[in-house]
Point group: C2
């Protein structure tokens, strides 16, 4: 199988591309993460989001510990070729490591960031 589709991507200096995960149904943007060539290829093979963890320096099959896997229904590339948009089904309804539904839980109000989404599950109970 040709790898042209991977060559179309404008990988950054670290070999990464930004990947936005949007929830099917609700349309909510859950998180922004990063993928390298291998993680994107794995994502497509598996049908589940596999990111590149910049902090851990390794492939990160989202949900590998928590069970909060993201099933990928659709994959888009932007005009510049440097951003991906994944439409996902979020297993367990929790995308954020803080135990919230999504990572974008801080809202700007009067030039202050206010947490506006509840913690649905104690992170301790997710990650042990």
């Amino acid at each position: 199988m040709s790898d042209d589709w991977l060559d179309s991507i404008k990988w950054n200096a670290d070999g990464l591309v930004a990947a936005i995960a949007q929830e099917a149904g609700s349309g909510q943007v859950l998180m922004l993460a990063w993928m390298n060539r291998e993680s994107l290829a794995r994502t497509v093979e598996l049908g589940e989001a596999v990111y590149w963890s910049r902090s851990r320096g390794r492939l990160w099959h989202k949900g590998e510990t928590s069970g909060h896997v993201q099933k990928v229904l659709d994959l888009r590339l932007d005009c510049d070729g440097d951003a991906l948009l994944l439409t996902v089904e979020q297993q367990g309804g929790i995308a954020c490591h803080t135990g919230r539904h999504r990572c974008f839980y801080r809202q700007l109000k009067d030039r202050r960031w206010e947490a506006v989404e509840p913690v649905l599950r104690d992170p301790e109970s997710i990650y042990g």
Copy 2:
């Protein structure tokens, strides 16, 4: 006015943060761009998206040439502090410089990127 809200952001090595623009109403993710400290402050002052153009190396008030301004209704920050989510009203209904509604117009089908959204307006007629 305190700048604490700007200090909460984890700017990258280039002093930038990723900014996702999502359309109010449709919920469609329109584009991913970048902001520096000044562009984010301007965005909040103005109530319209002002990005940092990496290619042009200057502030980019989205729509300054095309009239396709993005009115910002809501601004969110993620758990890591390195990604922003803007809820916007897209003036003119065109976010992409290719004349399409949004930048994420290429869909992966059988390991090929296929353009699945129509050009609504000739870029020549937008940018002259």
